[in-house]
Amino acid sequence: MRAPAPTRSVSHMNSSLLEVHNVTRSFGDRAVLKDVSFAVRGGRITGFVGSNGAGKTTTMRVILGVLAPDSGSVTLDGSPLGEGQRTRFGYMPEERGLYPKMKLAEQLIYLGRLHGMSAEQAKASTDALLERLSLTERADTLLEALSLGNQQRAQIAAALVHEPEVLVLDEPFSGLDPIAVESVLAVLKDRADAGVPVLFSSHQLDIVERLCDDLVVIADGQIRASGSREQLRSEHARDRFELQVDGDAGWLRNEKGVEVLEFAGGYALFEVDSPATAQRVLKTALAQSSVQRFTPSQPSLATIFKEVIK
């Protein structure tokens, strides 16, 4: 059953915007989320980063309506999400699980129908997804009889079968083998390209760095940073440069306005007090020997992460 009219079609979905407004939530007297606000834009993949226990899962559960916030709200394109709205979401919880005694295709069709698809639509979508994830041959296998890798893919399929308008994935890559990571990645990019806001949490910073367009960092129940990856990088960029020369770069230590952070023979990572200092260093280097590399150093996500959660 397709909705009559009120919701947008795929072509307009680029403006889809999922927003979390001032959400707080406590368990007993332990405050897990403190005034959490951020946005997930359509067509972009947003990484949600934080240490264990920082509040990622709780935030996602609030977004999905599995948990009610003590205060604050979640909106999609400005309108609050009520009951029934969240069938438009695709969710992959951190704790994986499907019915072990149900056949794979049967299970996906069931989930599709719970989200409002007709039996035929659910069947068609299931077939397409299984094909895409190379699981067609396993359609009639009981879930418990699938290999671990295939179970992981089945879990992704379960989040996607109803063609969601918003994707929320809690640690989608944890425990995945490298091949499965690639296939999940491809599917997520697909969905983002179709204009779907995609939020995924991870504590694997390298994967986040590789994949996400936007970043939200949470620590101790508070949002410490959020924005596009580039914006965060430039915000946290210091005037740092990397230099690689033939021969020894030890002379750098004696340059004025330069602080050497790392040093190894011809390689040095250093901070300068002004752009002019950087230019002077480059000229000096060229005068001394041939320069292999002279480049402004972007802080890695891990660096930014460590800085903002302090």
């Binding site: 947008r8 699980g97 005694k101």
Partner: protein, 362 residues
């Protein structure tokens, strides 16, 4: 692409339908249902054979005594020529007794037995006095025993079996963590309603099937008198069971939501299991105690057994089952509200057993 979420009713049915489908796929369930039906049918057939194998007593008779014996239509008569022949047959054990003419006897006949007076032959020959009962006619004590045991056992077995099935299905969803996906898709009360509906339909279907098998069995073996006597109470039993089971199902689901592993189910469900066992033992031990039965017939969790029992005994006024049913329905409604609260709050709490107090608070 957007799909509107299904209505609460159709989502409930989707959940219920899955429960039924999965259960019907389980060999254990099919086998136990068939065994239960065979058991009921078997006990009816065996009961019939036992009660109908009392062949009419055999007698040897002479002359007009033979005509008389034939006329009773309750004796298997061997007509012989002389008194000596007749007594010889008794001594040989060929017949139970001999009837001969005896002018000196007030009845005009004399009966020869072997080592004890042949009571059944004497009964046949006796003229019963006119009898009038001043009270309501009571039920046959053996039938009372059978019916109390039958209702008690049927309720006990079904409630326990399907209660366990619901509990298992709740914990399975919790243990496999699919519950989080379900909660993100459906309102929790729809999930609970679907589970209760699906399993109640199965339990109800099983009860109706067993009742039908019992009815057909009684008719087929010519015991339609018994069917007429238990018919009304059987119908009440089914009606009461339907609501009583809904209540128990909600309790089972709530209890199961408090634990995270199948292994922990036993302790969490003990209070509910007690609720199921009390009416079972109550109706068997107190089938003759009017006061206890009356109390049982109004206590909601015991009423599904107590009230049909009283209807069967004829001790309930016509309005009593209706009142008790209203009470049961009201209690069931309240129980479902409380249970769905416990259920909703218990679902996401993993690890040890959730305290009931915490589950109620949320």
């Amino acid at each position: 692409m957007t799909y509107t979420s299904p209505s609460a009713a159709s989502a409930t049915w989707l959940v219920a339908e899955r429960e039924i489908r999965m259960r019907l796929r389980s060999k254990a369930f099919i086998i136990s249902t068939v065994v239960l039906m065979l058991l009921v049918l078997g006990s009816i057939v065996i009961g019939n054979i036992v009660s109908s194998n009392s062949e009419p007593p055999s007698v040897a008779a002479v002359g007009s005594a033979a005509e008389y014996a034939e006329a009773t239509k309750a004796l298997d008569v061997t007509e012989v020529g002389s008194v000596d022949e007749a007594t010889a047959l008794v001594i040989d054990g060929e017949v139970d007794a001999a009837i001969v003419e005896d002018a000196k006897s007030p009845t005009g006949f004399k009966v020869y037995g072997l080592d004890a007076p042949p009571g059944d032959v004497i009964n046949v020959m006796s003229l019963p006095p006119t009898v009038e009962l001043l009270g309501e006619p009571g039920q046959n004590p053996f039938l009372i025993y059978l019916v109390s045991f039958g209702f008690g056992l049927l309720f006990f077995m079904s409630a326990l079996t399907f209660g366990q099935i619901i509990a298992q299905s709740v914990v399975e969803e919790k243990q496999t963590r699919i519950v989080e996906i379900l909660m993100a898709t459906l309102p929790v009360r729809v999930l609970l309603a679907g589970k209760i509906l699906g399993n109640s339909l199965l339990a109800f279907g099983q009860i109706v099937a067993v009742a039908a098998v019992a009815g057909i069995g009684l008719l087929a073996t010519g015991q339609d008198l018994i069917l007429a006597e238990i018919g009304a109470s059987l119908v009440w039993f089914i009606v009461f069971f339907a609501f009583g089971f809904l209540m128990l199902a909600a309790l089972y689901a709530a209890g199961a939501a408090l634990v995270s592993r199948t292994e922990d189910l036993g302790s969490a469900l003990t209070p509910v299991t007690m609720l199921v066992m009390i009416p079972y033992f109550g109706v068997i031990f107190f089938k003759d105690n009017d006061l206890v039965l009356t109390i049982m017939s109004y206590v909601p969790f015991a009423a599904p057994v107590g009230m049909p029992m009283r209807v069967f005994l004829g001790t309930a006024e016509w309005w009593e089952p209706l009142l008790s049913l209203a009470l049961l329905i009201a209690t069931t409604a309240v129980t479902i509200v409380v249970a769905s609260r416990i259920y909703a709050n218990g679902l996401l709490k993993m690890g040890g057993q959730v305290k009931l107090k915490d589950a109620l608070k949320g």
